[in-house]
């Protein structure tokens, strides 16, 4: 059975920017092929998951205020079923990082992510979470949350307007709709790869730090 291109109510496919990645995702999934029953079930799951995204409130700075506006009367994300904001990571579906992540916060963020139940999604909201933003050169700011956890959707802006947040959430919906759960979870595999690469990188960095330390120690007597 063929997986269809994800559709969003009252917003055409052409109105979204960067449609290539979604088309590519769909093509990749179709290449493997699935049987009809599993495919139908997957469709139902994807529909329900994409329409019932419960956020985990993780606001560290300015973006959190705009997120509150998103929930308030003018923008009202409850219309899309996004409103059941959970304060316990166990019950939430996606974590929306709003604001700078610092070195001190990073372990807590990783832990919260690990505490979330599958399926879980990550949105990097605002310049600081995407790349460190205006604080990129700082001594204790993480240069993008994707150094710690795998990110599904990036929302640029400082902070992004609520409209932009809606756009980002719709992108997440599309991404969820173009995924497979039964018969080989494609997201799980991607994530496994992410954390494997991360572990390798860390090992590498530790080795380099060790070398640097040794070099310094061997240099020190020469200077004296």
């Amino acid at each position: 059975m063929e997986i269809k291109r994800p559709k969003i109510k009252s917003m055409k496919h052409e109105d979204f920017k960067d449609n290539e990645y979604i088309d590519q995702l769909v093509a990749e999934l179709n290449a493997a092929g699935t049987n009809v029953v599993v495919g139908k079930l997957d469709q139902l799951l994807n529909w329900s998951r994409s329409n019932s995204l419960w956020p985990f409130c993780f606001g560290t700075s300015c973006c959190a205020i705009e997120f509150m506006c998103l929930g308030a009367a003018r923008y009202d994300m409850a219309r899309f079923g996004f409103e059941v904001a959970r304060n316990s990571p166990r019950q939430a579906d996606y974590i929306m990082c709003q604001g700078t992540i610092t070195y001190r916060m990073a372990p807590a963020l990783l832990r919260l992510y690990e505490q979330m139940a599958e399926p879980k999604y990550v949105i990097a909201c605002g310049g600081c979470t995407i790349s460190g933003g205006p604080f990129k050169n700082s001594y204790c700011v993480v240069k993008g949350v994707d150094e710690i956890i795998p990110v599904d959707v990036y929302m640029p802006g400082c902070p992004p307007r609520p409209e932009a947040m809606f756009y980002g959430l719709m992108q997440l919906q599309r991404k969820i709709k173009a995924s497979k759960f039964l018969g080989g979870d494609n997201r799980k595999e991607d994530r496994k790869k992410f954390f494997e690469a991360k572990a390798a990188e860390e090992k590498d960095a530790a080795m380099r730090a060790e070398q640097m330390r040794l070099a310094r120690e061997s240099k020190a007597p020469v200077l004296e």
Binding site: T60, S61, C69, N87, R104, M105, P134, C140, A205
Partner: protein, 549 residues
């Protein structure tokens, strides 16, 4: 000024004076500093430690203390330094001004200066396994020394103090913050009611809070260090991201400080627009704090009502500045561009609807018997404590401290408009909440007068003075305060008068009001219920990025 100089000379003959700056500078050797500090507070009534700035002058390390006399509003500043870079030590003044407790921990964190007799010398912002002191000029920032660590911090409970014995020898005493018998519950860093990433480690007995240990730094971005690597114009980017609910005011403060240093005359119209933006921001901020306070106490609907009116203010910002938040509107010499043609109309509309809406808020929440029960007489902060902990802004005024910078040290055009400083007496949560509600009325009053003044000036006019492209400051230091949404926001700029074409600030320090606010959490929450911890911190109303910088 000469009078005070004489008095201080009598108290401490070793003190040297420098009157060349905007304020009197007293230079004191460290051994005499503690005695002089006591005398300054008790005899000369300098009871309000406005700012404490850690400094690295390359040959020496030290601190600048800005002091204010709360009766006469006179200010002076004191410089204390040490030339020992290996083991820098100064005497603490945290027993004289309680606010110095956290401030000195910050200086220890940034410069490695250990304060003798300080009760709790821990790092304040950075992890306890951090290597080096980032704001020192010789700091090694290679990522190998301080990589991104993903393991939780160890030995969080460990702390020490350096005690001076009677014979002058120093003794290090290692301590624990919490004893093994205490039941410590962790609030934050990710908690719905800490309004950001603040962490309290609270020791509780049943539902009773026994002690609150503030662990900050979860959003410490090193802004002061970043400023040292940029031109003066670029640094304007950061103050807005400190307290994002006082974006205009904070930026206003930096602009005023730089204009003072450069001697630039700002056009009347620009100052007027800045002032209006400040007041709009204050309205927006107080509405948010109303919303958060009500939501933290479970009245979710009131939160939505507050946000409904905030959208009107956002719209005004959006039209004139082109952004809803992080507006980047003030600039050195004025504002970036003239206001939108609809500006006056929109502001007038806002002023017209606000009184009715305020009535609605009161109806929904203020008179509610549960709300009164939750806030009245809870978390009382006395006037003495408020001054001792340098609490300013609405929280300070709720305790009856006359601390509105708009009245004490008028800046901008606040002399030309009529408004009252809201002062209440009891200093409980209810008063802190009521001060904000009443200040909104005053802001509306100021805005109405400003609208008249701006209408007189016409639709267009000069909105920015001529400013050189490359800003170069002479050697010296300046301090400027404004009244931000949550209290007195101060900016300290020091320039070394570097003749190079691209001059960078030698040191920039932001004295944020929220930093002091968080200092009273332990004091006000002690022996209250756990649920009160939430309502008290909500009524104190701080913004975490402002604390952490």
């Amino acid at each position: 000024m000469a009078d005070i100089q004489e008095k201080i000379g009598a108290l401490c003959p070793e003190a040297q004076f420098d009157t060349s700056g905007e304020l009197l500078l007293v230079i004191v050797p460290d051994e005499k500093w503690h005695a002089l500090a006591k005398a300054l507070k008790e005899e000369l009534h300098y009871d309000y430690l406005t700012a404490l700035v850690g400094m690295d002058w390359k040959d020496s390390l030290g601190c600048m203390y800005y002091l204010t006399n709360t009766d006469t509003q006179e200010m002076l500043h004191v410089k204390v330094s040490t030339t020992d870079r290996e083991n820098p030590r100064l005497h603490t003044v945290s027993d004289v001004w309680a606010v110095a407790n956290y401030q000195e921990r910050e200086v220890y964190d940034f410069f490695g200066i250990v304060f003798i007799n300080h009760p709790d010398m821990r790092r304040f912002f950075l992890r306890n396994d951090w290597v080096g002191y980032p704001l020192r000029k010789d700091y090694d920032d290679s990522p190998e020394l301080n990589p991104l660590r993903l393991n939780p911090e160890e030995n969080e409970d460990d702390t020490f103090s350096l005690i001076e014995e009677a014979d002058g020898t120093l003794k290090r005493i290692d301590k624990k913050v919490f004893g093994p018998e205490e039941y410590v519950i962790n609030v934050g860093p990710q908690h719905p009611s800490t309004h950001g990433v603040m962490r309290y480690r609270t020791s509780i007995d049943g539902e009773l809070v026994k002690k609150v240990d503030v662990v900050s730094g979860y959003i410490h971005r090193g802004i002061e260090k970043l400023c040292e690597g940029m031109s003066y114009q670029s640094t304007l980017l950061y103050p807005e991201r400190l307290d994002y609910m006082a974006a205009h005011m904070n930026r206003h403060a930096v602009c005023l400080c730089l204009e003072k240093a450069l001697g630039i005359e700002v056009p009347h119209r620009a100052e007027l627009i800045r002032m209006m933006m400040d007041e709009l921001m204050r309205l927006s901020s107080h509405l948010l704090s109303y919303g958060c306070l009500t939501m933290d106490q479970g009245a979710t609907t009131a939160f939505f009502y507050g946000f409904r009116e905030r959208e009107l203010i956002y719209e005004i910002f959006d039209k004139t500045c082109g952004a809803r938040m992080s507006m980047s509107y003030s600039t050195i010499g004025g504002v970036v561009k003239d206001v939108h043609p609809d500006f006056i109309k929109d502001v007038r509309h806002l002023c017209a609807v606000m009184p009715d809406k305020l009535k609605e808020y009161h109806k929904l929440f203020t008179g509610n018997v549960i709300a009164v029960g939750r806030m009245k007489g809870v978390g009382i902060l006395s006037k003495e404590d408020a001054i001792n902990y340098a609490i300013t802004g609405p929280s300070g005024r709720a305790s009856g401290v006359h601390c509105d910078v708009r009245k004490c040290h008028p800046y901008s055009l606040y002399n030309e408009v009529e408004f009252d400083e809201v002062l209440l007496e009891s200093g409980d949560s209810m008063d802190r909440y009521m001060v904000r509600m009443k200040e909104m009325e005053q802001s509306v009053k100021i805005l109405e007068q400003c609208c008249d003044m701006l209408e007189k000036e016409g639709i267009e006019g000069e909105y920015c003075a001529k400013v050189p492209k490359m800003i170069k400051l002479p050697a010296g230091h300046w301090y400027q305060q404004v009244e931000a949404s949550r209290g007195a926001f101060g900016v300290y700029i020091e320039s070394d008068g570097d003749p190079k074409p691209f001059q960078k600030p030698y040191r920039m320090h932001f004295q944020s009001p929220c930093f002091n606010l968080v200092g009273v959490v332990d004091l006000t929450c002690k022996d209250n219920l756990f649920a009160d911890l939430i309502s008290i911190t909500a009524s104190i109303d701080y913004v975490i990025p402002d604390i952490d910088r």
